[in-house]
């Protein structure tokens, strides 16, 4: 007796789900996105420098990292500001790098949502009494040096967008569904997405299998 056609459907769904789960289990969401330049930027005390057209490639940026030369002194505290496009009125995230670091990589967390535009601007405000130098990353020669003057200036500073820790996509799914509850009607809750997921994975294939069986029966009963 031939096997019913819905077995092919179930087999493909099962194989596809296994592959999808494998993808989700190996897809790590932490990242470091380097935005390197060959410009060295000196930021005197009290000055601020920004970089425009920053485009994160992934969601969830929660830190900024810079290659900083403190000229042998303890590094000053730095304020970090992220805003939409070039408008300071649309700040979406803020952060801070504590003082006392040494020449090398300095990293600070940012709080907020670094998203919501076609591009962002990232600013670094020197809150201390000593100048610092934002250098290209180690191994990349500096071809140009500029000194930040005046108020906020846009310069080609080297920086890295960071997301930590490094969870898998699969482990983040409950969180993702919770996030998808925001900016929705009051009747949309996280459980609704779980119900829909079950429907997609079980009810939809079930209904398709039934339709397939029906088509099989009708075609056998006189169709072409």
């Amino acid at each position: 007796m031939p096997r019913p056609a819905w077995i092919a459907l179930v087999a493909v769904v099962a194989a596809g789900l296994v592959l999808t789960l494998a993808w989700m289990a190996t897809d790590r969401r932490g990242f470091t996105q380097r935005l390197d330049t060959d410009t060295t930027v000196v930021i005197p005390a009290g000055r601020e420098v920004c970089r425009r057209s920053v485009k994160p490639e992934e969601a969830g940026v929660n830190g900024l990292r810079f290659q900083i030369d403190t000229a042998g002194r303890p590094g000053p505290p730095l304020a970090l500001v992220v805003f939409l496009r070039h408008s300071r009125r649309a700040i979406v995230a803020r952060g801070r790098i504590r003082g006392g670091y040494r020449t090398g990589l300095a990293e600070g967390p940012i709080r907020g949502s670094a998203t919501g535009a076609r591009a962002l601007s990232v600013c670094l405000h020197n809150l201390g009494r000593n100048a610092i130098t934002i250098a290209p990353p180690a191994g990349r020669p500096s071809r140009r040096q500029v000194v930040a003057t005046g108020g906020t200036g846009f310069r080609e500073i080297s920086l890295a967008l960071v997301r930590k820790p490094n969870p898998t996509l699969l482990s983040l799914m409950p969180t993702a569904l919770r996030r998808a509850e925001l900016f929705r009607p009051g009747w949309v809750h996280t459980w609704a997405y779980w119900v829909l997921a079950v429907a997609l994975l079980i009810a939809v294939p079930g209904l398709l299998a039934r339709a397939l069986a029906g088509a099989e029966r009708e075609d056998a009963g006189g169709g072409a």
């Binding site: 907020g112 076609r118 925001l182």
Partner: protein
């Protein structure tokens, strides 16, 4: 599945949804078409929701607003709004030249749902998704008309449309393309029916009426008119043996009127309101110096679109093959704004599947498992060629003559013809016999379910994880 798409996609993150919602709000709140000079494009309520959700018309970067605090802030500020804050939009926006039919349809849930802006937006999406059911059913009927009463082939065609990711995505959005896809599919079915069964008064009026409603939904539907008129002319020609000239003429006039009444009503209304009846290609950067249409320039652009090969002269697509990157990827899985796409590996699997399907459909013609009704296939071909030509002419005018903006054409603009993809699937299945066909169909249905799952994971990854 439509419910899942409607709810899971962040607000405004389907193409141009911000503008379409602004149109809807203007119509539903003020019963006025948008596009009035001096008024803000969006209402205060809309601007607040757009700004705090961080998924509005400017939002092209990955991620949505994840902060509960931002959501609470929106709730607090929104609660302070008065009804006038919903009514102070209605200014010019790119969607304002669209005809109003779809937005009138969407006004029903907008008025009934009430509540905050997200309630009205998401209920509107669910309401819009009804068109997916219409389109799927129409494809099932179309396949029945083309292949006869063969349920497995009808199921294959309908499932292809009902599960095609871009169709489900667009249908579950505030977007007139939702209605457009369904109306085009209905028109293809009704047209096929007239070719197969002969011209009748109710059939012809329904067919041309649907084409007219399509024009009242989006001006793109004018591309369906040449194919529709060919069907009508063929039907009248065939009637000469069985009916008098007078009755055939009366039937044709009634059919044309069924188209002209809705389409003409909109043209007259638009003229009376001093607004364009179709989307206009404005001056763009070229301003008043916009050069006239140049056939040689257009031919060169089309050649470069389909043959962007080095050594063939100036190339405007140096790094992509538009046939793949624009038409194929755009029609299968470019969600939201252009950046969010399915993983590259999935596109390759889909491409392989499509090539196999096309080869199977060609084989079906060779083996006569599909009837060679040339009138029918000519009808489909005219619709396809006219739509593609219209899109290319528009892109050429927008990008190269008016220099309004970057690439205009997107794969999703081909979705009104998605049912022809369903027919190709059915034709390929028809090559297989009995159990082989059913196993292949089972595999296809399973693959479509998996594709939907992959789409949701892609969305989750981009916006929420």
């Amino acid at each position: 599945m439509s419910v899942a798409w409607a709810l899971f996609v962040p607000p405004w993150q389907s193409p141009d949804e911000t503008q379409h919602f602004a149109y809807l709000q203007s119509l539903a709140e003020r019963f006025e078409l948008p596009g009035q000079a001096g008024r803000p494009r969006y209402s205060s309520e809309h601007r607040l929701a757009d700004r705090l959700s961080k998924t509005g018309h400017e939002a092209r970067l990955p991620g949505a607003e994840w902060s509960v605090r931002a959501f609470q802030e929106w709730k607090r500020e929104d609660a302070a709004f008065v009804p006038a804050d919903r009514r102070n939009g209605g200014g010019r926006n790119p969607a304002s030249a669209n005809p109003p039919l779809y937005y009138l349809w969407e006004s029903i849930p907008y008025q009934l749902a009430g509540g905050d802006i997200f309630n009205r937006l998401y209920v509107g999406r669910l309401w819009s998704a009804v068109w997916l059911l219409v389109g799927t059913l129409a494809t099932w009927l179309l396949a029945g008309e083309v292949f006869g009463r063969v349920r497995s082939l009808q199921l294959g065609a309908a499932a292809f449309v009902g599960f095609q990711p871009m169709v489900t995505f667009i249908s579950a959005s505030i977007n007139p393309d939702s209605q457009l896809i369904a109306l085009w599919t209905l028109a293809l079915w009704l047209g096929a029916r007239l070719i197969r069964r002969g011209l009748t008064l109710p059939g012809a009026v329904a067919f041309m009426g649907v084409v007219g409603l399509g024009v009242l939904t989006k001006a793109t539907s004018y591309a369906l008119l040449p194919a529709a008129l060919c069907v009508l002319a063929l039907g009248v020609w065939r009637l000469r043996r069985t009916a008098s000239l007078r009755s055939a003429t009366a039937l044709a006039v009634a059919a044309v009127l069924a188209f002209a009444v809705p389409a003409g009503a909109w043209v007259i209304t638009a003229r009376a309101l001093h607004r364009p009846a179709v989307n206009q290609v404005l001056g763009g950067k070229a301003g008043a110096h916009k050069p006239p249409f140049n056939p040689r320039g257009f031919a060169s652009y089309v050649r470069q679109f389909y043959l962007p090969l080095p050594g063939l002269g100036r190339n405007i697509y140096p790094t992509t093959v538009p046939l793949y990157s624009v038409w194929f990827k755009g029609a299968w899985g470019t969600f939201g704004w252009r950046q969010l796409q399915l993983p590259p590996g999935v596109f390759f699997v889909l491409l392989a599947g499509c090539l196999v399907t096309l080869a199977g459909a060609a084989l079906a013609f060779v083996r006569h498992t599909v009837r060679r009704d040339w009138a029918l296939w000519a009808f489909f071909a005219i619709a396809l060629v006219t739509l593609v030509a219209l899109l290319h002419v528009t892109e050429y005018r927008v990008v190269f003559l008016a220099r309004e903006r970057g690439p205009f054409t997107q794969g999703r603009y081909l979705l009104p013809l998605v049912s022809l993809g369903g027919l190709a699937v059915s034709a390929a299945l028809s090559v297989l016999s009995g159990r082989q066909r059913l196993y292949a169909l089972g595999g296809l249905l399973g693959g479509l379910v998996v594709l939907q799952v992959v789409c949701f994971v892609t969305l989750a990854r981009w916006f929420y994880a």
